[in-house]
Amino acid sequence: MHGGPCGSARIFLAESTKTMVFFLQMVFAGLSVGAVYALIALGLNLTFWTTRVLNFGQGSVLMIGAMLTAVLIGYGVNLLLAVLIALVATCLVLIITEVVAIRPLLKAGGSMGWVVSTLGVGVFLQGLASLVFGTQAVAFPDVLFSSSATLQIFGAWVSVQYIAVFVICVVIVGLMELFLRRSTWGYGVRAVAHDRELASLMGIPVRKVVLLSFAVSGLLAGVAGILVSQISGTVDPGFGLHLLILAFVAAVLGGMGSAVGALIAGLGLGVLEKLIAGYYSPAAAQTVAFVLLVAVLAMRPQGLLGKKEMVKV
């Protein structure tokens, strides 16, 4: 009923519930996409730990994983097979990147070489994808659940896909953390990340550990690409770049050494991005993220949780 104090109160309540709902929807979307950022950040961290190299082409690897999945399914290939092929492809891409674009440049010393060459891999992949798949965005099919399936949480309707993506990412990050702490390979990676020479003296086959970590990084990138395309609905050859930067922000904020840190930072970043995008504009959100990156790096060049490296003369 309208009119009178009770009526206005009800309208007010309805309005604020709507705002509350809107807010919650942004938060859930942000948690979902933020979890993917964390997954991407983890992939970046893995290669960084073992080689001190940040793969500037990782964004394009994400894209390849998503593109291949979408296109293969479009040609009628079985869903699981398509995903498998895409993941094998992304693994191979990372391994080839290590052999061709990173190892030769690490020998030369300095970082400009591998920054440019890994960027080159990214540009190459983008060009290849444009050539083979065209430059237009491709609709991403429903790999997980249906895009119309929704659940109600605290009054807000949330897409089940968002929830699934969130859960998958958190589980993978958790498993990775477990592997790193408990498994043989995890010990190997941590040792190599810490001190390569010392690791080799412990009997750790450094080269194999490095290649394996690149393969896993490729796997993570492929999965992340598929998941993020699922929630955004489309994939195009150029979409990897802004993901790379946001994932990098998450990695830096979380400290390059920590998987859990990347998760927390990723979630926070995702929520922040979606809230700003929802209340202002998507471009404003991206700008804020980049400005955040610049601010963090300017004040704390080692990230929020990373350690300062002493320069010995």
């Binding site: 400009m112 070489g113 080159g120 060009g127 444009s130 700008t287 790096l297 300017a298």
Partner: protein, 601 residues
């Protein structure tokens, strides 16, 4: 000389370049509009390539978002002319200044950040500009872009009431390019260019020469921005219609590719790179489909297959000194090094200095004085604190406790470059020369702190600049002769044997006309002849009143040189006196060999 090198020499000949420019300027009237417009695009690309080269190739600051500068400059120039009615020349100048200012501001966070973090930041810069331009519809027209920008191609551009035709636009651009290139070339060959390159190679070594890495980076970014702004100003009016899509990551990649293929660090290379990538897309229609694939492959393999780009292939050398332009009379050694008076006076005083790194005391209450005109030797086992002391005096570390005084003034807490500027010069355990510079250029860099002429004077080669440069070149010649390095004068230092590199570093230190000279293991790895030459140089410094402190392990070397030797152990002084006494001193022997009896638990 191989044919490629001959080609390179031919291309760099000023006569050829001048001739081509004049021919092009004249020919513009006869060529069709499409060709002339192509030439204009070429000039824009050359300017952009030079811009990124200054920042990335010379100063070593990677820029993956250079299209951002192009965007800012283009929109600024277009908006100022269209919406604010400024005239075309003013709009272009404004574009230069605005882009330079943006560069300067960008340098502030970028200068503090290392390596790949910087690369990310530059990537983010490019993207932020793209996003801002898309969003700021009111100013820039947003996604739809800005139409109707006055352009010579459409006959709508006017300067002071005169219509600018395409061929005159080209001539204006050509003249601007030539002017900019001449100034840039002079700049690179001056001590400013050397400073840029020095921070690229080693910020720490640059600091020891009095070069402030923060200030130099800001300058490099501003200069790079300004040159990009020049390109941007011309670009906006050339195309008449700009959209955000002209300034995407791919444009930044294109600019980078031009510079890398041309040869980072080389001025001539940029012209070649720009030329190749302006014409290739035109000649090969198929190229457009494969463009990113090609760019990607180039970026992946260029540093391994062709690290110095086309310029390297053709053997063109970018010189960082005006040696070929100037020659002066070689002065006597007395003019190379000033005669310092007050021999025996205390020059630097270290007072109760403690230097502690997270609990570890590298220096534990050290007090020391070095006097003018003397040589003090500093010895001690590994980890005893000798290098740490040099690092504290030279300003690389600030003492945890205690102070350092130089000529009565407290210098502890000063940044290294400021200490160097005051007259304290140091060398490093591994010679930190610039490997691609010649012996001459390296030694000349030592004089950095003594230069007085400014960047503009350097760029236009004013009389004062020429005089000063000539004087320092002559000093360099004198030092090379004193050190026996004349035979290697124009050889890149990186190719020379270790002992020669060491001598170059010491000669460079002397070129700074220091009052205090700190040498860290200078005799390591030297042959006997080289050690003799080194001794001669040190003696020369001492005889001119320089205070010398010398760390080394070679006792025979020290024997002949030092007036006094100080022995360190575990961060403290355990002996001071002459060499003979040191040999017999029980605490010194114990420090090196350990106690005869170790106490049992």
């Amino acid at each position: 000389m191989n044919p490629l090198h001959m080609l390179g020499k031919a291309i760099s000949s000023p006569w050829l370049v001048g001739g081509v420019c004049i021919a092009a300027a004249a020919g513009a009237s006869f060529a069709d509009q499409g060709t002339v417009q192509m030439w204009c695009f070429l000039i824009v690309n050359i300017m952009l390539a030079q811009s990124i080269n200054v920042l990335t190739g010379v100063a070593g600051q990677i820029s993956l978002g250079h299209a951002g500068f192009l965007a800012i400059g283009s929109y600024a120039a277009a908006i100022l002319l269209k919406d604010y009615g400024l005239s075309f020349p003013v709009a272009v100048v404004a574009s230069v200044l605005i882009s330079a200012a943006v560069g300067y501001v960008l340098a502030i966070p970028s200068g503090r950040v290392r390596e790949f973090y910087l690369a990310m930041m530059s990537l983010a810069f490019g993207l932020i500009v793209y996003e801002l331009v898309r969003e700021w519809r009111g100013m820039t027209g947003g996604v739809m872009g800005m139409r109707g920008i006055p352009s010579p191609g459409l006959g709508t551009l006017e300067v002071f009431g005169w219509g600018v035709s395409p061929e005159w636009y080209f001539r204006i651009m050509l003249v601007s390019l030539i002017g900019m290139m001449i100034m840039l070339r002079n700049f690179i060959k001056s001590h400013f260019g050397r400073a840029f390159y020095a921070i690229h190679v080693s910020e720490i070594a640059a600091g020891s020469l009095g070069i402030s890495s923060g200030g130099t980076k800001r300058f490099a970014y501003a200069l790079s921005g300004g040159i990009a702004g020049l390109a941007a100003g011309f670009y906006a009016f050339l195309v008449g219609y700009i959209t955000p899509e002209s300034f995407t990551l791919m444009r930044s990649v294109e600019i980078l590719v031009m510079a890398v293929v041309g040869g980072l660090g080389s001025l001539a290379g940029q012209v070649l790179g720009a030329g190749l990538f302006t014409y290739l897309p035109q000649q090969l229609q198929a190229f457009n489909d494969y463009q990113y694939i090609v760019y990607g492959l180039i970026l992946v393999f260029s540093f391994t297959l062709l690290p110095r780009g086309l310029a390297g292939l053709l053997g063109t050398q970018t010189r960082y000194s005006k040696h070929d332009q100037l020659s002066g009379q070689v002065p006597g050694l007395d003019t190379v090094l000033s005669r310092r008076s007050g021999s025996g006076q205390a020059l630097v005083e270290v007072c109760d200095v403690v230097m502690s790194f997270s609990g570890l005391r590298a220096l534990d209450g050290v007090s020391l004085t070095v006097r003018r005109g003397t040589v003090t030797g500093l010895v001690g086992p590994n980890g005893s604190g000798k290098s740490t002391l040099v690092n504290v005096i030279s300003g690389m570390y600030t003492p945890t406790v205690g102070d350092v005084y130089f000529k009565g003034e407290k210098i502890s807490g000063w940044p290294a470059h400021r200490v160097a500027r005051a007259g304290v010069t140091r060398t490093f355990q591994d010679p930190r020369n610039v490997p691609s510079f010649s012996v001459r250029e390296n030694i000349l860099m030592g004089a950095h702190r003594l230069y007085t002429h400014g960047a503009f004077a350097a760029s236009v080669n004013s009389a004062g600049a020429q005089r000063e440069e000539g004087r320092f070149l002559a000093c360099t010649q004198g030092l090379m002769e004193a050190a026996g390095l004349s035979a290697y004068a124009d050889d890149p230092v990186g190719d020379l044997p270790y002992g020669i590199q060491r001598l170059v570093e010491v000669a460079r230190a002397l070129a700074s006309d220091p009052e205090l000279l700190l040498l860290d293991e200078p005799a390591a790895g030297l042959s006997d002849t080289e050690a003799e030459r080194l001794m001669a140089l040190i003696r020369m410094a001492r005889d001119h009143g320089v205070g010398v402190m010398l760390i080394d392990h070679h006792m025979d070397f020290l024997e002949e040189l030092v007036d006094e030797v100080v022995t360190f152990d575990a961060g403290q002084e355990i002996y001071r006196g002459d060499m003979a006494g040191m040999r017999d001193d029980p605490s010194v022997i114990e420090a090196y060999l350990g106690k005869e009896e170790t106490s049992h638990a």
